[in-house]
């Protein structure tokens, strides 16, 4: 059985182009997948950090903080990601270099990966801010007032009262954003990142066998989204424990 399947990947067989070792492209595709996931995880972490600060800033911050975060979320969500990625991708290294130069240091050439992660993270952060803000606002006001009445300090209040109750509302939106993050990594192909989509295109263009490559890449993306859909559905069940059942979850 396993033998028959592994023979499919021999050169000249149906899936010969996808064999792990060269001349097959399987290894390259998997490396591309790895880079895509790496970018997505990094961008998600950056976005989550921005989102937490943004959400609390927008709700509990002063007037200036609120307006600044308001402008950030509005502008970022109104401009296509591709355009933002291009602007930031050229802007970040230039700003870093001009700061370095003004302090008398030499120019550095920033590595591609962190810049890409940062750029996607900034975009994701705007959406995350809105998701988290909505879920914090959905926590009943009485809960927070009661905690304040017992004299809870703000950090303890956030950790023990707001966080557990907002999680259930936040998970579906956060799951969507994770799926967006994995799919947005494909946008970095346009500026020459060697992630899954660009590797696929290179393989397809070299071998002129577009269907095999695009279907293989599509399946990889689908596996990511199905697996993470299951994962988030499980987290949501955990976050909703003790609450009345609602339908939903999963792709």
């Amino acid at each position: 059985m396993f033998d028959a399947i592994s023979h499919l990947f021999d050169p000249g067989q149906a899936l010969g182009l996808l064999a792990y070792a060269p001349p097959g492209w399987g290894g390259n595709l998997l490396a591309g997948l790895g880079r895509s996931i790496e970018i997505a995880v990094g961008a998600y972490a950056v976005g989550l950090t921005i989102g937490i600060f943004g959400a609390f800033g927008k709700i509990y911050g002063g007037e200036v903080t609120r307006d600044i975060f308001g402008i950030y979320t509005t502008v970022v969500r109104a401009v296509p990601e591709l355009v933002e990625i291009l602007i930031l991708y050229y802007l970040v290294p230039q700003v870093v270099n001009s700061i370095l130069l003004s302090f008398g240091y030499d120019r550095v050439s920033l590595p591609q990966m962190p810049v890409g992660i940062l750029v996607l993270g900034v975009v994701l952060g705007a959406y995350m801010t809105e998701v988290l803000r909505g879920s914090i606002l959905a926590v009943p006001q009485g809960q927070i007032e009661a905690a304040r009445a017992y004299g809870m300090p703000p950090l303890l209040l956030a950790r023990r009262i707001i966080f557990p109750q907002m999680m259930a509302n936040a998970i579906p939106g956060m799951a969507n954003l994770w799926l967006n993050a994995t799919k947005d990594t494909a946008l970095l192909a346009v500026i020459g990142f060697n992630e899954l989509t660009l590797t696929t295109m290179q393989g397809a263009a070299t071998t002129k066998n577009y269907f095999v490559f695009f279907i293989a890449a599509g399946l990889m993306y689908l596996v990511i989204s199905i697996v993470s859909g299951r994962f988030f559905a499980r987290i949501e069940r955990w976050a909703r424990r003790g609450q009345p059942l609602v339908r939903g979850g999963g792709i």
């Binding site: 355009v83 494909a186 295109m201 577009y210 989204s225």
Partner: protein
Amino acid sequence: MIAALRPMMKTHRLVMLGLAVGAVAWCAYALRWDWIPTYWNNGLILTGLETTLSLLAFSWTIGLFFAIWLGLAQASGPWYLALPAKGFCSLIRGTPLLLQLWFFYYGIGSTFQQFPWIRHSWAWTYLREAWPYALMTLTLSFAGYEGEVMRGAFLGVPKGQLESARAFGMTRFTILRRIWLPQAVQRVLPTLGGETVLQLKATPLVATITVVDLYNVSQTVRQDTYVIYEPLLLLAAVYMAITGVIVLIFRWLEHRVPSKVA
């Protein structure tokens, strides 16, 4: 008018407004904008704008039409309709739009030209261009995302409404036309506004398959003139303006539709 301006009459907002005006003025003064008349006069900017807007309008309309059926099939169809519809939506939502676009243009598009009978048919004048693939991909993508949204909207309409319609002896199609669809659309309007903006933001990807949309025009300007940031900044401003118009249209629509949902 005065009442509308009152929220702006706060010190920090006036300062921010001043900073924004200053930034715009600095951009206008210090950056290079001399390329704009050239590209306005040769019509490239308007062509790009037209392509972007018509791609958005057509993919929105056709996609929403398909989405209604996809949603209906998932909400109340028999399994042999519900299952393919669900599979289609998952497939579209689970893969990047860029991959779909390249699949249709490079994959299917390059297959067509291997068949002489297609190359000699009337359809070839369209099939050898890029925009039909762009329009098809955007339409399918919008249909996939909205199909899922419409499913939720159809399921959200109270059962009693449909039962009483049936009790009045309405046919299934009349129920859909008079009772089910209007209430589903009413529920979906706020979501639809956001999804329309997302669809607008998806259109620049068609530039990667050589369709001359707004984004492609800005790339052309950058390559011709070696001006790096200015075309991108203008592009961002134009997209923001279009987004603003979409948001206003949907706000107006939501106000027009009575919002008392049972």
